[in-house]
């Protein structure tokens, strides 16, 4: 592999990884705040892709309004899922919550299959113009760069929300200690809803980006990237937002390079990485055992 090829693959890897990171953020935020691996999260990504599809085809909206509509729609679906399925189980055991999440996942996948059919659909070709871009000797296409840029902008926005706003502070306090947060006057239920809304909106954005990039969406499209994004979240350290970001990018790059080197491994690499992390450092790249004084 020449250096130029290396750079080209790196851009592809980063743009794929940034999509994983967008989905991984939702997994990690929800885990951070209610300790649940939200198996339905990858289907929220699919829902976002469908909302974007209808916005682009039926409403003929251009890229940015399509993206915003899909994010809003996915956010609302995420909040409803939490409100209807998870909140009544807040005091139940984690395993009940986990099984419920799997149920919601199956419901969304098969519900969409039932309503919209299983045939893949494609975004209109003109939603984003695909042009070749030459950065010196490196050839890449505009789609990858737009995806990478959009993801990075959204992740910067998320950082600002979490570290600079009142709701962000409430989210961090709630994920650390719900009772103590309530004693500060933080509405814990509203904060959890906001977390689902933001995480789901990011997944919805990822759904639109992937829908445009691969030009194909179907009700089961969330399963593969969902597992990979979950791997990315665990890789970075589940519950840690910078971890999801870093884990997503690294996983995307590794997957792209491994695929370029030996393509039959493409599907397996995510799982191989997951297994290795769980053996070597189950707390993830940025995770550490926290000891608190009493």
């Amino acid at each position: 592999m020449t250096f130029v090829e290396f750079l080209q693959q790196l851009i592809n890897g980063l743009s794929l990884g940034s999509v994983y990171a967008l989905i991984a953020l939702g997994y990690t935020m929800v885990y951070g705040i209610i300790g649940l691996i939200n198996f339905a999260h990858c289907d929220i990504y699919m829902v976002g892709a469908y909302i974007g599809f209808f916005a682009a085809t039926s409403l003929h909206l251009p890229f940015i309004p399509t993206l915003i509509l899909a994010m809003a729609g996915a956010g609302i679906v995420g909040v409803l899922v939490e409100r209807i399925a998870y909140r009544p189980l807040r005091k139940a055991s984690n395993i009940s919550l986990l099984i419920t999440a799997m149920g919601v996942s199956l419901l969304l996948e098969n519900g969409f299959n039932c309503i919209f059919g299983g045939d893949p659909r494609s975004y209109p070709h003109n939603i984003l113009k695909q042009t070749n871009i030459e950065l010196g000797p490196v050839h890449t296409d505009s789609l990858h760069l737009i995806i990478l840029t959009t993801s990075l902008v959204l992740m910067v926005l998320l950082q600002i929300i979490i570290y600079r706003t009142k709701i962000g502070k409430a989210m961090r306090a709630t994920s650390a200690d719900k009772d103590a947060a309530a004693l500060m006057g933080i509405n814990v239920n509203a904060t959890i809803s906001a977390t689902f809304a933001i995480g789901s909106a990011l997944a919805g954005a990822a759904g639109v980006l992937v829908g445009i990039l691969y030009n194909s969406i179907d009700p089961y499209m969330g399963i593969q990237p969902g597992i990979k994004a979950f791997t990315a979240a665990v890789f970075g350290g589940i519950g840690l937002i910078p971890g999801a970001f870093l884990g997503g990018l690294i996983l995307g790059v590794i997957e792209t390079f491994v695929t370029a080197w030996y393509s039959p491994l493409a599907g397996a690499i995510g799982f191989i990485i997951l297994i290795i992390i769980l053996i070597i450092k189950p707390s993830g790249l940025l995770g550490k055992k926290v000891s608190e004084k009493v």
């Binding site: 009142k166 502070k169 650390a176 200690d177 004693l183 500060m184 933080i186 509405n187 004084k293």
Partner: protein, 235 residues
């Protein structure tokens, strides 16, 4: 100011609080003493809305009924709770913890005055503003928990075992700060296992045993009461 009457709390089938009646008047330090598991913490958690109360229970604060008010609205009324085990936000900085203490404040412009008050009472917190709260010593964490509670400008502070796990010299310091907070006009309901310390600073006291109030009176009288001495003051 605070009037708890016929308070009953059940955890599943366990009757944790059995018809508890407590009154705290404006400006007082009132202490609730008792053994481990007697129901001291449950009483405070019921006042703060963190545990559900059984029908018929009443908690009145300045004439307002609290039993139906959700936990997160209680601090807005002027009740601040320093929970058992401090419960500071360990991964956040000291400054962020204090900011969260002021979360329920509507007049954010006057916060400078509150920081000043907190730093006067706890000078060590000022030196550690940028430090993660989890890296503080136990005594400093207790000070942070109290400083955080003060940031909301409470009318009443509920304090749960401020002496827990601390060296005697730190306990003394903490208790003298509690007295000074009270002198600055904040009413205090103090829950303690360290009955000696608690009775020495309190105006009135209640003794709780297995969920029931078994004795009440002036702290100065209870400290000399034979039964209290025997059970809680080491002879």
């Amino acid at each position: 100011m605070l009037k708890v009457s016929h308070l009953n709390v059940f955890y599943g089938g366990i009757h944790a609080l059995d018809d508890v009646n407590i009154e705290v008047k404006d400006g007082e330090i009132v202490t609730l003493i008792g053994a481990n598991g007697a129901g001291k913490t449950s009483t405070l958690r019921a006042i703060s809305g963190l545990v559900d109360t059984a029908p018929g229970s009443s908690i009145q604060f300045d004439g307002q009924e609290l039993t139906k008010v959700p936990a997160h609205k209680i601090p807005y009324l002027g009740i601040s709770h320093v929970p058992e085990g401090r419960r500071i936000f360990a991964s956040m900085t000291v400054q962020e913890n204090l900011q969260l203490g002021a979360y329920c404040r509507k007049d954010k412009n006057n916060l400078a005055q509150d920081y000043k008050t907190v730093f006067e009472k706890f000078p060590r917190l000022k030196e550690r503003m940028k430090q993660r709260a989890g890296t503080l010593s136990g005594g400093e964490q207790q000070m942070l928990a109290m400083g955080r509670a003060l940031m909301s400008r409470p009318k009443i502070m509920l304090m749960d075992e401020p002496s827990m796990g601390l060296a005697p010299i730190i306990v003394k310091e903490i208790f003298s700060i509690i007295q000074s907070i009270n002198k600055s006009g904040t009413t205090i309901l103090l829950v303690e296992q360290n009955a000696n310390m608690a009775l020495s600073i309190a105006d009135r006291a209640y003794v709780i045993e297995t969920g029931r109030i078994t004795m009440e009176g002036k702290a100065s009288e209870l400290i000399n009461n034979e039964a209290v001495k025997k059970a809680y003051l080491g002879g």
